[in-house]
């Protein structure tokens, strides 16, 4: 049965196909792709600032942004729309990076922080605060972070047996996630409808009501976390070739892996604290980024830009696609999942 392991390694094959010979050109392409993505993000952001259920002319939006409006017009543009756009951008990018770290680390395109149980764990924590303790929003955030972190640590420890092997981590993660998933179902089942729906809306991940506080604090955390992520990106790429290969190039594999896991989880945790678990961006953004940039392995920058764009577009759709606004997470799931499905489909057709 040991023949099965390499088949799970989906991401590595591309690495073999594309050779180092053209590495410079690839890098150039990355830069161009990132620039194009940045423009797309900017355009979407402007669009999101201009549109909403409260009718405002572009002129009003502009003068509100430059501080020449007061009252409700100012509130709508500067206090509501702007932080929401900023949050989508920053959080989306963080999720993209977080997913890229995990996929590279586990050499598996299915990997994201959800794999090691973070999402389910934080939902469990939040549910307990909402349904059992009936706590405040701050307690909710605390509960979610505690639940997510505890689960991530538990999965890591359970998968640790003379080092952590990617495949084992995934299986343990699936097991623990499934267990917490049923606990969550049970908690929802035992609650009052109003409470349960409130909890479910949080669990879907929503940017409704995001304030400048959340954006500034969350953004600061994310900025701090991106630093070690950037520093570890070199060992990360070397580890994609295999632990032994990386070790022979002087990478201290175990500390590097632990550090990357911590960074990846912390990025997702920050976003979860601010907006609930927004699903699927961390899974899809690195994949889309890799394909757009034609890079060999997973790279951080394209993943970040794709994540930001995906989150912005999804949030815009979430506010306008249904008669009443939906949590953004519902849209990211559908968009992200659909795109990954489309990629699979075309990939399959291209194969001989």
């Amino acid at each position: 049965m040991s023949t099965h392991i390499p088949r799970v390694d989906f991401g590595r094959r591309v690495l073999v196909l594309r050779h180092r010979r053209i590495a410079v050109r690839l890098l150039w392409r990355s830069v161009v792709v990132c620039a194009v993505l940045a423009v797309a993000v900017a355009v979407t952001a402007v669009l999101a600032l201009m549109t909403g259920s409260y009718q405002l002319s572009p002129g009003q939006v502009l003068s509100a942004l430059t501080g020449r409006e007061t009252g409700i017009v100012h509130d709508v543009v500067v206090e509501w729309r702007l932080p929401r756009v900023a949050a989508a951008l920053v959080f989306g990018a963080a999720l993209g990076v977080s997913g890229a770290v995990f996929q590279s680390l586990l050499r598996n395109p299915l990997a994201d922080p959800g794999v090691i149980g973070f999402s389910q764990g934080s939902y469990t924590g939040a549910l307990i605060v909402i349904l059992v303790v009936n706590g405040t929003y701050v307690q909710l955030v605390g509960g979610a972070l505690l639940g997510g972190m505890a689960t991530a640590v538990a999965v890591y420890v359970l998968a640790h047996r003379r080092g952590v092997q990617g495949f084992r981590l995934i299986i343990v993660g699936i097991g623990v996630s499934a267990m917490l998933g049923s606990l969550n179902t049970w908690l929802i089942l035992k609650a009052d409808l109003d409470q349960a729906m409130s909890a479910a809306a949080w669990g879907a991940g929503s940017l409704n009501g995001v304030s400048w506080d959340q954006v500034v604090i969350g953004g600061a955390c994310i900025a701090v976390l991106l630093l070690p992520a950037g520093m570890l990106s070199r060992p990360m790429r070397q580890m994609e070739l295999g632990d032994d290969a990386a070790a022979s190039q002087g990478v201290r594999v175990s500390p590097a892996r632990l550090g990357l896991i911590v960074v990846g989880v912390a990025l997702t945790a920050t976003v979860t604290a601010a907006s609930g678990p927004i699903a699927f961006i961390s899974l899809v953004a690195p994949q889309i980024g890799r394909r757009l940039a034609h890079t060999a392995g997973i790279t951080l920058a394209p993943a970040a830009f794709v994540g930001a764009l995906l989150c912005l577009v999804s949030d815009h759709l979430a506010q306008h696609v249904a008669p009443t606004p939906l949590p953004v997470g519902v849209i990211t799931v559908v968009l992200g999942g659909g795109y990954l499905g489309y990629l699979l489909f075309t990939e399959v057709r291209r194969r001989p």
Partner: protein, 347 residues
């Protein structure tokens, strides 16, 4: 039988027991299952004396408890048996077909498909009774499983990873759509709360009859393809060299597992882990021999389901915990323990 189970399973070969030991194990599993069937009728969230149970089953008794036994515990036990067999066998088939130890009806988006179909039925079409949902769940499962397996197969055959990816995609998209429907429709949200847990309580025996013919067909198909699937485990080229007709084997296996997973989900809702875990355990006991794995799965899966259900009845008296929640709590630690075994880590 051993002739159909070639032993060229590569360097990772474990020391697997011989045919006689396997047979003894099978008998033990059968005994365990029978004991559990009896216990499932004896034990419930209300304490009913064994003598009363006996009278209710075999004599004409007059107490009100006789209905509890005849109308609720007995059908529940039968439903558990049937659903368990279907889940175990479908899990074994999926794992053999996709050559993927991660494969499970849940992983392949089957539950999400059923759940989405039921939400549509409740939220948009106003279906309100369990018998009505059942067919939606069945149809949802069939469509999604076929879609996922079609999406995940190349002209050459199916790639395990792509199949799982396709399952995750389908599961996510349908899950998101379902959530959107539920969050904008409180009635649908309310009605779906229990369904998502997965349970075998209160399914009248009448819901099982229409599904049984599907299961019978699936069982026959599964037995028919167990030999070829064995060869398939070694890789497509080797299987072809051994005279296996790839397309036919795959199509039959897909039909079988779809019927099984669909029927089980239609009756009981999404019960996870049984289909993932039981074939693992079976493979660990008997080695890579599909027919034995199937046989063990058929006996072990209902045992697991019944143990979980009995546990769910007694731990929170007077209330109960739905069996789907218990299977996850029983199954996850076992899975983690299995993965931590050095030998099994290569599964």
């Amino acid at each position: 039988m051993t002739a159909l189970a070639p032993r060229q399973d590569g360097p990772g070969t474990e020391t697997v027991p011989g045919p006689r030991r396997r047979l003894v194990g099978l008998v033990v599993a059968l005994v365990v299952l029978v004991v559990l069937l009896v216990l499932s009728v004896m034990i419930g969230s209300t304490a009913i004396a064994p003598s009363v149970v006996w009278d209710a089953l075999f004599h004409s008794s007059t107490g009100i408890d006789r209905f509890a036994i005849r109308d609720f515990r007995l059908p529940r036990t039968i439903v558990g048996l049937v659903v368990g067999v279907a889940l175990g066998l479908s899990g074994a088939l999926i794992q053999a077909l996709t050559r993927n130890p991660l494969a499970d009806p849940g992983v392949l988006g089957v539950h999400a498909g059923a759940s989405f179909a039921v939400t549509v039925a409740v939220g948009l079409l106003g279906v309100r009774d369990a018998q009505g949902y059942m067919w939606f769940a069945f149809a949802g499962t069939l469509i999604v499983t076929l879609l996922v397996l079609a999406l995940g197969s190349t002209r050459q055959g199916s790639s395990p990873v792509v199949v799982v990816l396709a399952g995750v995609c389908a599961g996510a998209v349908l899950g998101g759509a379902r959530e959107a429907l539920q969050l904008t429709n409180p009635d649908a949200f309310d009605a779906m709360r229990y369904w998502n847990a997965g349970s075998i309580v209160g399914r009248p025996i009448e819901v099982v009859w229409p599904i049984l013919p599907f299961f019978a067909v699936a069982l026959i198909l599964a037995l028919a393809v167990s030999g070829p699937l064995n060869a398939l485990a070694l890789g497509d080229e080797l299987a072809v060299a051994q005279g296996v007709r790839l397309v036919r084997t795959r199509v039959l296996a897909v039909i079988a597992l779809t019927l099984l997973a669909g029927g089980a989900t239609a009756i009981a809702g999404p019960i996870g882990f049984v289909g993932l875990m039981v074939p693992h355990v079976a493979r660990w006991i008997v080695g890579p021999h599909q027919r034995w794995i199937f046989a063990y799965s058929i006996l072990l899966a209902p045992s697991l389901l019944l143990v979980s259900d009995i546990l769910g009845r007694v731990v929170m008296r007077p209330g109960e915990i739905p069996v789907g929640i218990v299977t996850a709590f029983v199954g996850a630690p076992v899975l983690v323990a299995l993965v931590r075994r050095k030998k099994a880590s290569g599964l």
